[in-house]
């Protein structure tokens, strides 16, 4: 090797080992500052009584003990479970929409765009639209119910229906999201395989179940991930449509956390952080499941 500066020689010798680290560094740094450190800080704050300005007072598990006695916490937890269960309906609904739109007729691109539209508009706008939709005096939904049954229903003011009403609003954009995922998956199917299945006498539901769905598994997996996480972190719709009311009956954990820590009800940072930690642990259960599955899939390859 000809004479080169020692630094250039070092770079040349270690280029392959250093390059990946350099590429990873910006992302890793962001992840550290904006994700990992805040998680640790939240856990730390959750052991204190703190108003956000004054001195922190260490109270150990005091916040968690209070949480276990808080009725609102149980309402929020129950509502989160309802969200989780019903939000998953977005997956079969998205699949149905995708199967329906996966055909080549004139103007299909326009229809696809229209179906995708709710995902593009802001959750705030979705919330406002559904609030008007449910409005007791002029809302289309209330009018329809009145016309059909004669009863007056104010969805968002009724403890029995309020959470279901918000979830229905949330399903609208989420279904569009799942639909797009499935449309992409359907695009990647080998048309000869569908033809082979037709020759094998697989039609309709059996074709869907035995041949198409198994190949859409990657899309289903992503749809599951985004839907479960979307259900657990539901916040904006609750905030826009009911602010947790009436009487806290549409509370969910993330809104409860915000209300305790940052709203006009008070600045109980420690208590809010404790709720955040509980929500984080619930999320970790699902995230772990997803990651385990992903690793298993990669090994199988």
């Amino acid at each position: 090797m000809p004479d080169t500066a020692p630094s250039a020689g070092f770079w040349k010798r270690n280029q392959l080992r250093i390059a990946p680290i350099l590429f990873l560094a910006p992302g890793a740094l962001m992840f550290l500052i904006y994700v990992l450190i805040p998680i640790v800080q939240s856990v730390w704050i959750s052991f204190h009584d703190w108003d956000g300005l004054g001195a922190k007072v260490w109270i150990g598990l005091g916040n968690y003990a209070e949480l276990l006695d808080d009725d609102t916490f149980y309402v929020a937890l129950k509502n989160n479970l309802i969200w989780l269960a019903l939000y998953l309906l977005a997956i079969p609904m998205g699949l149905a929409a995708a199967l329906f739109l996966n055909q080549s007729v004139w103007g299909i691109r326009l229809y696809k765009s229209l179906f995708f539209f709710p995902f593009v508009i802001s959750q705030v706008v979705v919330g406002l639209m559904f609030t008007w939709f449910y409005a007791p005096d002029f809302g289309l939904f209330s009018q329809a119910i009145h016309w059909l049954t004669g009863a007056e229903v104010a969805i968002l003011a009724d403890e029995r229906f309020v959470t279901l009403g918000i979830i229905a609003a949330g399903l609208w954009p989420q279904t569009a999201y799942c639909m797009i995922l499935y449309l992409t998956g359907l695009n990647n199917l080998n048309p000869e395989q569908i033809e082979a299945a037709r020759m094998d006498n697989a039609r309709g539901w059996r074709l869907l179940w035995h041949v198409i769905l198994p190949q859409l598994a990657p899309a289903t997996f992503i749809a599951m991930v985004v839907t479960v996480i979307g259900a657990l972190r539901s916040f904006d719709l609750v905030s826009i449509m009911t602010a947790g009311g009436p009487y806290g009956s549409s509370q969910v954990l993330s809104y409860f956390m915000y209300e305790q820590a940052l709203s006009e009800y008070g600045y109980r940072m420690g208590y809010g952080a404790a709720i955040a930690v509980v929500l984080f642990l619930i999320m970790m259960v699902f995230i772990t499941l997803f990651i385990v599955r992903m690793i298993a899939q990669e090994r199988n390859r």
């Binding site: 080998n190 000869e192 033809e195 299945a197 037709r198 094998d200 697989a202 035995h210 198994p214 598994a217």
Partner: protein
């Protein structure tokens, strides 16, 4: 009995006509090959027999029954696709047995027939693998197994060997031919490769632009092409075409070759005129032995060992290919005399139809 019969079958996509009226009879147990350049409609025609494409007009009969409106799974046909179209999430055994499962056979029956098909194709050891873990040739065999297990009257193959390398293609060609002998089923095979067509077929159907150019046995097409298209398509390297003047004379036909040589062909034509003379490279005689001689200069020599292929430029600028002995000494730039044997020459009229065929089997 599963003879396949098409009468006046057409296919239109919108205003575009893909298949323009096909009449064809394929006998029971026959190996029939559809061959033609890409875009000639051969795959579409096969898919119409399969039921994957609707027949715009005309009728299709399989085993004497009208199948024009019958669904693909009820026609008694099985198809092997170009991409194999295996189900990636199923094992080899599940892939092979899927059709039986869909037609409601019980598990024991499916297992028995899957095992029999696997044994026939030497797939026994691979039954638990997924398609992703198989080589191209193995996947091809699974695709064939999936067809065999349904015990169809008619097998359809859509360019099944085009994704394999040359050596494997020769091997699979033999296996499919052997399968045809063992099963005795009717088979329809689509390819653009005329070597596959010549080696495997009982009957070749040459298609071009949605129409049948000629139907016949491989040797019939080789020796008695009905027109310029078939003459140029069958045979490798391609038949040489020379522009000539021909006129009827007593007891034969007199042809004036480029360069002025005169050749006397056996057989009569009706009228004189400009025509095309066809001569296969393997029948042209390097060295000049023959009934007439073409003078030219060697432009290119391809030495294949067993034979040498010369591309010879004639005085009028046209070029002909000549197949010669592997030890032929001529080099590019050398003068060459090419002998033309009259009994191997084909004569085509201005419209491209064969007037005289140099049928060497006569």
């Amino acid at each position: 009995m599963a003879e396949v019969s098409l009468s006046k079958v057409t296919k239109n996509f919108g205003a575009v006509s893909i298949i323009k009226g096909i009449d064809l009879e394929i006998a029971d147990g026959e190996f029939c090959v559809f061959v033609g350049p890409s875009g000639c409609g051969k795959s579409t025609l096969l898919r119409m027999v399969a039921g994957l494409e609707e027949i715009s007009s005309g009728a299709l009969k399989i085993g004497g029954r009208d199948m024009t409106q019958v669904g693909p799974s009820d026609r008694g046909v099985a198809m092997v696709f170009q991409s194999y179209a295996l189900y990636p999430h199923m094992t080899v055994a599940e892939n092979i047995g899927f059709g039986l499962r869909m037609t409601g056979h019980d598990k024991a029956e499916i297992a028995k027939r899957t095992a029999a098909a696997a044994k026939m194709l030497q797939l026994d050891a691979l039954l638990d693998r997924k398609p992703g873990q198989l080589s191209g040739g193995q996947r091809q065999r699974v695709a064939i197994g999936r067809a065999i297990v349904r015990n169809p009257d008619v097998f359809l193959f859509d360019e099944p060997l085009s994704n394999l390398d040359a050596a494997l293609r020769v091997q699979m060609r033999g296996e499919i031919s052997r399968l045809h002998q063992d099963l005795g089923a009717t088979m329809i095979y689509v390819t653009h490769d005329q070597v596959e067509a010549m080696t495997m077929a009982d009957k070749i159907v040459v298609l071009s632009a949605g129409q049948i150019e000629q139907v016949g046995s491989p040797l019939e097409l080789y020796h008695r092409p009905r027109n310029l298209f078939v003459a140029g398509f069958i045979g490798s390297p391609k038949m040489n075409f020379l522009t000539v003047a021909a006129q009827p004379v007593a007891g034969g036909t007199e042809v004036t070759l480029p360069g002025g040589g005169v050749l006397r062909l056996p057989g009569q034509i009706a009228a004189a005129g400009p025509m095309t003379l066809g001569l296969r490279p393997e029948h042209a005689q390097a060295g000049g032995a023959g009934d007439a001689v073409l003078e030219g200069r060697v432009k290119l020599a391809e030495h294949l060992g067993s034979e040498t292929l010369f591309f010879v430029e004639l005085a009028d600028g046209s070029e002909i290919a000549v197949k010669a002995d592997g030890l032929a000494p001529e080099r590019p730039g050398d003068e060459m005399r090419v002998g033309v044997p009259a009994r191997a020459c084909h004569l085509f009229d201005a419209a491209g139809l064969a007037l005289l065929n140099g049928d060497l089997t006569r």
